[in-house]
Subunit: 328 residues, 2 copies
């Protein structure tokens, strides 16, 4: 639990190492995360979602500055592979260096460029936990900009920010995907473009009519006008996020959300477990079962029954790739 | 196994009923599907993917006619909620009636409008199996037009068709998503629009350079020019699909693909099992575990260990919602 201890003291190198170890499934990494987990839950998780090209990265860059000016420690998880925060060694480093590379209280990790075995959503959650445990006050998560992955980001956020552009017609796509309903703060970026006022009006009408007003939550999602420069709108978005956190604390919604998130996370972890189990199954045996399926000598349900009974008889053995004595 | 028997005889009403029963998780439906499964694998599954608005539905409508003219029996699974084939009672019925409503050898089902509990991908697979078992020669699957869902459709297809439009810039999005590599046939729809020739050229260059040439498969994906009317391109696409099937048969790729698909399907079914297990868990106990997680009194891994050991001790009980004596 060496890394865990250092992470809890805010050690940047230890945090980076642990995130990488989790990714590489290094022995003991899961246990380190377990040790951290009970110390998490302090940071506010802010998800930034929106279609590709709406300016999520720029807004995120501006928000780092806004929260830093308030003296807050900031973590950033970039999930979008096209984000400059994810941009590999050259572009990415340059962006980070220029803006916040020398600021020790800003910790930026990109998940985009790597092939997380446990799935991107779970990787995001793990990275958030590490940043939370290392003492970040706020963790900004930049979503990938499409469909399910974005909804997942919204689900694991305390506050979900949805960035839209005038005239892009994103609203319809977003509404379809269910992100519109999950957002707590709306940002109209490129608000100097024609149609921005109209979009703001439409959003406000839609929000006023939406079912959310009638249900548990009394939070009225603000619609903030912004431009892809830090001067306009950034501070308002930061303020809205902090106000939303106050609301969450006061209303009890925070506990509700976090319970929901714990359930989501639990399911992802279980899913990952099943995936691992299949991957780790004795190769010949799995191949035989799949072959029987492909040749229609068996049906999927009978094979599942066999796998489950295997899991059962195997008990806890092989449950996780890297067990330590403590689990036995 | 009454429905199953009728489905195998090509009974349309029985097939529609079984699909609905599977959706509603009616007792015995899974067993009926099991009984069918060993009789599937004959139909060619053709997935139609592409961004929203490229003209998937129109092409699909035209393809039904093209395959019917060859005397083939056609099944259609519409996953896209915006497809006219999915369009609820009024629009959808009108489309179906007008075109093929009186043709008994065309069977169209939409999955889009309903909330399949087991997930859309699994619902698609189940519906395909039923159509396959009822004797359809070809099953056309219309994808939803975005991200993972489309890749899933491509994965469960024998032949994946990717529809593109000139100037839409979809290629980049598609390439990012990995669909470009999964496609067996490319269709440039709206080929009368400027840029169509350029897109065709670019695609052909890209395909020539792609890694696929060097690997197992010698199939050279054709690029077909089409227009959103049935006259142009439809027959070429149908021909390409049939030629691709011949190639699959001759090369042994069909077996390879179907083994891969069986593996995918097995995983989806297992995933569904885990979801069901959690949903069916005694409510208070699950709530307690989630609460412990949210309050950081436990970590996800320890909870998983508990759930798995529960599954184990529960044995096969409660494994599927609807068991019959035969499973006991």
């Amino acid at each position: 639990m060496d890394l865990a201890k250092k992470v809890l003291q805010g050690d940047v190198l230890a945090a980076a190492r642990l995130i990488r170890n989790l990714e590489d499934e290094v022995e003991g990494a899961e246990e380190e995360l377990d040790a951290l987990y009970v110390n998490t839950g302090r940071a506010q998780i802010v998800g930034i979602t929106g279609a590709p090209g709406v300016g999520k990265s720029t807004l995120l860059g501006c928000l780092i500055g806004a929260f830093r000016r308030k003296g807050m420690k900031v973590g950033v998880v970039a999930v979008d592979p096209s984000s400059p925060f994810s941009g590999g060694a050259i572009l990415g480093d340059r962006v980070r260096m220029q803006a916040y590379g020398v600021d020790k209280e800003v910790f930026i990790r990109s998940l985009a460029s790597r092939g997380w075995k446990g799935g991107l959503s779970r990787a995001t959650v793990n990275t958030i936990h590490v940043m939370d445990a290392m003492g970040k006050d706020i963790v900004l998560v930049e979503a990938v900009g499409s469909g399910q992955a974005d909804i997942d980001i919204a689900r694991i956020s305390d506050s979900a920010v949805l960035v839209l552009n005038p005239g892009a017609g994103d609203e319809v796509q977003m509404m379809k995907a269910g992100i519109l309903e999950a957002a707590d703060i709306f940002v109209i970026n490129k608000s100097d473009v024609a149609g921005a006022d109209r979009l703001k009006h439409d959003l406000e009408v839609m929000l006023a009519m939406s079912a959310r007003k009638a249900t548990e939550t009394a939070w009225q999602p603000p619609v903030v006008m912004a431009q892809a420069v830090c001067e306009k709108g950034t501070d308002e978005v930061a303020e809205a996020a902090l106000k939303h956190k106050e609301y969450l604390d006061a209303s009890g919604d925070l506990q509700r959300r976090r319970r929901e998130r714990a359930r989501t996370e639990l399911f992802w972890a279980l899913e990952n477990y099943v995936k691992n189990h299949i991957d780790n199954m004795e190769h010949g045996h799995l191949a035989q079962m799949v072959d029987n399926l492909a040749r229609r000598k068996a049906n999927p349900r009978s094979v599942i029954l066999e796998i489950i009974s295997q899991m059962s008889s195997g008990g806890r053995d092989g449950l996780f790739a890297h067990r330590t004595a403590k689990d036995a």
